[in-house]
Symmetry: C2
Subunit: 499 residues, 2 copies
Amino acid sequence: MASEALLVAMVVALALSNALLVTSESEYNKVKIWPMPASVSYGHSHLYLSNDFEHSTNYDSGLLKDAFNRMLAVIRLDHIIEANFSALHLSPLLRGLHIVISSSNHQLQYGIDESYKLTVPSPENPGYAHLEAQTVYGALHGLQTFSQLCHFNFTSRVLEVHMSPWTIIDQPRFSYRGLLIDTSRHYLPLPIVKKVIDSMSYAKLNVLHWHIVDSQSFPLEIPSYPKLWDGAYSPSERYTVADAAEVVSYAQQRGINVLAEIDVPGHARSWGTGYPSLWPSKDCQQPLDVSKEFTFKVIDGILSDFSKIFNFKFVHLGGDEVNTSCWTITPHISKWLREHGMNESQAYQYFILRAQNVALSHGYEIVNWEETFNDFGNKLSRKTVVHNWLGGGVARQVVASGLRCIVSNQDKWYLDHLDTTWQEFYANEPLTNITNLKQQKLVIGGEVCMWGETIDGSDIEQTIWPRAAAAAERLWTPYDKLAKNPREVTGRLAHSGVY
Amino acid sequence: MASEALLVAMVVALALSNALLVTSESEYNKVKIWPMPASVSYGHSHLYLSNDFEHSTNYDSGLLKDAFNRMLAVIRLDHIIEANFSALHLSPLLRGLHIVISSSNHQLQYGIDESYKLTVPSPENPGYAHLEAQTVYGALHGLQTFSQLCHFNFTSRVLEVHMSPWTIIDQPRFSYRGLLIDTSRHYLPLPIVKKVIDSMSYAKLNVLHWHIVDSQSFPLEIPSYPKLWDGAYSPSERYTVADAAEVVSYAQQRGINVLAEIDVPGHARSWGTGYPSLWPSKDCQQPLDVSKEFTFKVIDGILSDFSKIFNFKFVHLGGDEVNTSCWTITPHISKWLREHGMNESQAYQYFILRAQNVALSHGYEIVNWEETFNDFGNKLSRKTVVHNWLGGGVARQVVASGLRCIVSNQDKWYLDHLDTTWQEFYANEPLTNITNLKQQKLVIGGEVCMWGETIDGSDIEQTIWPRAAAAAERLWTPYDKLAKNPREVTGRLAHSGVY
């Protein structure tokens, strides 16, 4: 890809320049950026930020301007800037940031170029910093990095950049860097979801996996089947279509895609509150009734409505933890199974593949939890991404079979496992035992999962961070720049303010 | 006072009108306002808020406009407003709020008139709600109440006011309604302090008691003695003078006074990090050295600097938990005690009274913790407010002696006591066993205390609320409207969104 070639060229150019290219651990420790960029060089000067620090750009969009203003608000948050000019008069001033974006396309999507190059100050124009990127979303990452270079100086009472000049050339190791939130086990108010999205952007995570509905509650409005959200916990614990669209738009403005999930057929009891015929029977309410056409009509309606809100390339169809006993003990379903010559396991496969076809018909590629692969991987659509969760070994098998994989092994990357430390989150390597380069590329990334049974809006952020930030560096930073021992990065993580 | 007469007149007028005046418990349960206003009547109609809901006022100040805009942002926070006009066309619309303020003085201070009257809609102008108040700070409370009347309707997708017409006539029972935060045991970043202030305003609390420094750390800049903040936990865990002024200004814009505290001589070890001569000795660092003139020079410098930032009528001088053993075992102090004919207890009294005189010289009245009263109450300045904390009985003795009192008995109103339930916070009555009306008036209010040993910015809000809200109703609502059994108000508290 053109941008990769550009990156290589820039790294080479940098290595030939006079600046100190960071390659040793002791030098890393001086760099207080999280996640660690692909390539960093720094010097020994200080710069002071002008009080009216501004941006200029060739890119005509409110998105970038809003992001710049948000960045300014973040770096000005903790202290009042009130310059003590006597401490300042001889110091070089940074007046603004010039941002150059090559592509005018600002459509966010999986796999877009997220690279950027940041120089502070610009060699051509020392009063300004310079940020260039292929896409505006690469520039957003560059703004996050820039914000982490700024420190409040308690003597001069202004913001300053230490260790200038900086040259940072950066791009992510994995293109899918996700965080799961779960609004079925606890409803999360819209402002909380937005806060989580804000904090994701600080760590350069780029996919919000929204596990919207599950057995416990169905909080989202589905216009095609307007009784579905009768399964919400309460009338006020619901999201309208406009609320969901707001989540998508808010996330996209921060470079984050939203992966919407319905978890069928096993995690869907709440669907039957509004439509009881989706239950096998009143006494046996899960999984969804595999024998009824209505079940697939509802899935089709949901995914049709989804396609108007959730414009990410992928939709997540779940498929995990399906206990099919309700199917065998419910007379009309066991009769249907007999008539169609299916056992329970075949019916599970039938359900998953039919749901996949519905999703494909709406233009989505599919993510499914790993049980679908473990049970009948060779039958899955080739457009499937297998979402690992059970343990550490399945990614290798998935990519060997030619399918793509997202890594979320629960022993290391489940945030509801409160006894898993940030060090374990940091050390979890998605490519473990995958040596073939082509197969490595099929691991599109990883995701940390904040299941909602034991958290709500009051403690979700505190439970996510800093552990998700540890995983975020694993997913962003080149493998050879990751700390072999997480202990080495403790100071930088503590300093990063990501959490 | 004129406004009290006005209030009485309004209540009488209301009682004679047709509206239903809320007097019974079952009617209270329908009113979802927290804290419960002094007088409420409501009807049975619905009103819808216009999308461009606006305010008009005779009061020319950005303070009110900003407060109105914040109120709008709060009520619009949880859902996207996107009117479904087919569900709306026959419903009466509320186009705005007209606000009339009698006094043009917008100086916030202890004891200002906080009353307001809110009618929704205005009888004279049915398209508008009407809010009147003596001061802009009364109007701020009225805005909070108005916000609690607004509910998102999931059918019409707009905000609506239920149970209109409303007539609410309101004023607080106590003029001092405080919350203590402690930035010595854990530093709280500026944005966290602001969040706490925001949430206080929702509960109509009006004093932020800022326990700034203590033995553990000294985070605040004191220009007169610039090494004092060397006692901060770290260079970044500090507040500049401009930061402190920002806290005061931010709070005042929300009708909240800031009561600054230095806790002398017993809780001040951190002062000696920058000025070791304030310690009795290097090995015995607390209380402050009573024998040195320098000690009182530093207190004078601090209070001089305070007087430029903290313009509340009161300053808090602490005075609790003074263990004087360092004074007796340190040779130069025990010598000084002998020369001045003082025992330890007399030296404690000498210290407190001398510090009081310094505060008085800077124009402050004084708050001191109750040990000062318990030990030598008759010697305290008559401008002292005694701050109860040890137990339930002292308030009666304080007001019997003619001094004023703030109630914070630790068994009921200490938020760091995690096993004290919200019901206990609610039931704690400041006037227990005080029957004399004149003495009752000397109990100026109460305060809930969020000591900082076991909380930080990540969980302070979750630890404060909803229990502080329970106390806030005790401090705001007329005694005879308070629930006898807190269980009765569970639903209203849960609904209030104060926390």
